[in-house]
């Protein structure tokens, strides 16, 4: 007995108000005649129900029999909407004109967005695109994306890749700039650090060191030759290097710990401005903040709208006195974290040893010795006189 609301709307229905002594009799007469009735309710002495437009005339006849007075209070559905529009032809015409105008405008380019520029001026790319017909106001159907891409690639040689696409009325030009590795002029490969050579890989030039040999910073590792198809030395030299780190560690330290109390709030952020939608305001003196994103719109544009949950965790500061051994452990942890963030990606930490060098009442002196396996090869270009001399 599922109602078909779409069919009801398409065929049209009326909301009828019935006043009389026995409206239930009218309903039963309707049911006996097979007239559909729905949304039956009563209000201030009258009953209301809905029925189809086609059956309403028949209901008037039945109402006389039940001694009730029916009265249409609302007309709903497509037939009534069409009748309303037919009475207002200029309204329909204006709506169609607005629709046609919107369709026309949506076929034009309103703005151009350039993505991927780092060193190249986006204005140059926009001007190059304009020379191929892509400019604000141009019709999208008259623009060939491939010819715009070619024109930009030819006029801006610093780009290695260009892609043009349309996002609604916005033309998006995505570019990738050419990247040239910083290669100094031809020269020798020298050691950038002191160390013990583990392996030597020569791409060009003559190796002057061998595995097991100790080298100092600035020593020539691979000598380049000024003549030949590839002048200058190239290669990599992996060596074991060592570093010394000394640091004073105070034994009295203030440590923060979470108390377990927290405040949650929902925040809306748009263009750097934040608005707290709901949740308590901050009531803690010391706290840590963590944000959990919930929803984002217009992502990737400067108009990104985001809603996130911000949780403030209350902190409690405690004065603690560390033993020298605890201070040394904390020092080791800090050195490890610092080394991992500072070492080059191809370097590998082989050994780390920490020890205390001096202990006083309030402070200790920690010393960390690190052994790192890393590429110490560095090209030192020949200067003109040296090059000429070689």
């Amino acid at each position: 007995m599922a109602r078909n609301r779409i069919k009801e709307y398409l065929l049209g229905y009326v909301r009828v108000e019935v006043r009389g002594k026995n409206p239930e009799r009218l309903i039963n007469l309707c049911l006996a005649s097979g007239f559909p009735v729905w949304d039956y309710s009563s209000e201030s002495g009258a009953v209301f129900f809905s029925t189809t437009l086609a059956k309403y005339k028949g209901i008037r006849r039945l109402a006389r029999k039940a001694r009730c007075v029916p009265h249409v209070v609302r007309r709903v559905g497509l037939p009534f909407a069409i009748a309303k529009v037919r009475k207002r032809p200029y309204f329909l015409l204006a709506a169609l004109l607005v629709l046609a105008w919107l369709l026309y405008l949506s076929g034009s380019v309103w703005s151009i967005k350039v993505i991927g520029c780092e060193t190249v001026d986006p204005g140059r790319i926009v001007r190059a695109a304009a020379s191929a017909g892509l400019a604000p106001g141009a019709r999208k159907s008259g623009i060939s994306a491939s010819s715009v891409e070619t024109a930009i690639a030819v006029q801006v040689p610093e780009l290695s890749w260009v892609y043009v696409r349309f996002h609604g009325t916005m033309a998006v030009v995505e570019v990738v700039e050419k990247s040239r590795p910083d290669s100094p002029g031809p020269g020798d490969v020298v050691a950038s650090q002191d160390g013990v050579v583990e392996s030597v890989l020569v791409l060009s030039g003559v190796p002057t060191v061998s595995p097991g040999q100790t080298v100092k910073r600035g020593d020539i590792l691979i000598a380049g030759s000024p003549s030949g198809p590839m002048p200058g030395a190239r290669g990599s030299v992996i060596a074991m290097t060592s570093y010394d780190v000394r640091k004073e560690i105070p034994l009295r330290q203030s440590l923060a710990s979470r108390t377990g109390r927290r405040i949650e709030m929902t925040v809306l952020r748009w263009r750097g401005v934040e608005l707290t939608l709901w949740g308590r305001s901050n009531a803690f003196e010391w706290y840590e903040v963590e944000d959990y994103p919930r929803w984002k719109a217009f992502e990737g544009t400067e108009y990104t709208l985001s809603v996130f949950t911000r949780v403030l965790y209350e902190l409690n500061w405690e004065e603690v006195r560390l033993s020298p051994e605890e201070a040394l452990l904390g020092f080791e942890r800090k050195v490890k974290a610092s080394i991992e963030s500072q070492l080059p990606s191809d370097a590998k930490l082989v050994d780390l040893s920490c020890k205390l060098e001096a202990v006083s009442e309030d402070v200790v002196l920690g010393r960390a010795t690190l052994c790192v396996l890393q590429d110490i090869a560095e090209v030192r270009p020949w200067n003109r006189s040296e090059n000429g001399g070689r």
Partner: protein, 89 residues
């Protein structure tokens, strides 16, 4: 006597009793609505009480803000805050 015989035949043939004995069938959806099938017409309507005729008596639905959402020759869906449904024979 005839009713008893029809019931026994229905049970023997494993037929649904509401169909073979022409009985009303009431389905209650939580406290949100009541579906009454095989009714005989509306007897009384008020927002706190709806009385419907059935074959051998009446079914009264009590509640608050009661409305008849759909009404056809056999089925009736009552919506609102249902408090109780009573069969009166």
């Amino acid at each position: 006597m005839l009713r008893k015989l029809r019931q026994e035949i229905s049970e023997f043939l494993e037929l649904p009793l509401d169909v073979s004995l022409d009985l009303p069938k009431v389905t209650i959806v939580g406290d949100l609505g009541v579906l009454i099938q095989n009714h005989r017409g509306l007897i009384a309507y008020a927002p706190d009480r709806i009385v419907v005729g059935v074959g051998n008596g009446q079914i009264a639905v009590f509640g608050k803000s009661l409305e008849i959402e759909e009404l056809s020759r056999e089925d009736m869906i009552v919506r609102g805050s249902i408090l109780s449904v009573r069969m009166e024979t």
